[in-house]
Symmetry: C2
Subunit: 226 residues, 2 copies
Amino acid sequence: MSRGTRTATVTGAETRAKLMEGALRTLAEQGIAKVSARSIAATAGVNQGLVFYHFGSVDELLSAACRHGAEQRVARYRERLDRVRSLSELLELGRELHATERAEGNVAVLAQLLAGAQNQPRLAPATAAGLALWIDEIERVLVRVLADTPLAGFVDSPGLARAVASAFVGLELYEGVDEDGALRALDALDQLSGLVSVLEGLGPVAQRAVRARLRRGTGGRVRGRG
Amino acid sequence: MSRGTRTATVTGAETRAKLMEGALRTLAEQGIAKVSARSIAATAGVNQGLVFYHFGSVDELLSAACRHGAEQRVARYRERLDRVRSLSELLELGRELHATERAEGNVAVLAQLLAGAQNQPRLAPATAAGLALWIDEIERVLVRVLADTPLAGFVDSPGLARAVASAFVGLELYEGVDEDGALRALDALDQLSGLVSVLEGLGPVAQRAVRARLRRGTGGRVRGRG
DNA sequence: GTCTATACATGGATAGAC
DNA sequence: GTCTATCCATGTATAGAC
């Protein structure tokens, strides 16, 4: 409506920003299945053709929006993640983050992009990059938190961070079809985290026993059978 | 082409079966974003309008196909799951199942439906039901496997089964954008499973210590702060 | 350089043929 | 009862206006 109020179009950068915001909202609110140049442009309040002018294709717009959005989100939690000192604190922050970000639909964006990227390889790099931002944060916290534990040096932190991040996405998707079930799953993980807390507080004798057994490798390598 | 070779149309049941198969293949090969009455019918080799005649809508067809497919899949693994006796065996079977089902695109079907169900509530019940079949199997195995562990009675098995199943889906999606990362995540989980194996083999004294600590509840309940 | 109007393709749903 | 031909809505992409 009131278009000339502004200093006219400062530059197309404004349109680009609108489109990226619109892409994120559309992904979160309508899902990858309903995403199109039209639906995004409608959310952004601009002409549909601008998607192709500014980004070349819908996929390119989604990729740009993904990187943009993930950076914003991660930055918002970095300080608090830095302050986490134990596994249960991590899980507590994880639950809060889960609730907040889910409410705002930000995890949903990653989940929808992951689903889309399975059969649209052009989406994969940006999606992996967006998820990698979270993975890196989680990894830093894990390294710090596991240091006080017999697990330090035993568990591969980068691998565990990847497992945690992707499990988080899976839980988000599950919550979308069974909210009670997802809450129950989170509670069970809380309980399990207690197991590691127990290790932190174990006496030195028991710790040595655990450490020795871990080193012997009862588990930790299921491959190499035949 | 050769249509009259058969006893003509035995019944529409054949068409229904073709459509459900086509729906599963289309979901796996093209993703929820590309699923349509047309794309499914093309895969099934039938006229597109039959989707609406036999199922009323694409969503109804997807729902029917989901239940159908999940039952087939789970039945195929039930016997082997029954034979699992330890957590590392469970993870080993899990990895094999992961590889096989991923190759055939069966986990992908659930993942894509979960993504679609987030914004298409009509898909949610069938998707939850399909996932529930897996969850129930996992839960039965967990109850049996954890019985030899200090965790028995401490961890909520139904909750843990839900966490495992949804994490599995998340890993599948992650693998689609970063195969190496997903393998590393699986390896890390192998290592963690060793932690529980350690508990199984711990001496009675250490076991009592762990059990006592668990009961005291260092972790296990992050809520109820204020 | 930025954007819109238009052209052509694909998807959803059903009236009516068999 | 089973299926197909057809209609209208939605999606993609670009030629050309500003």
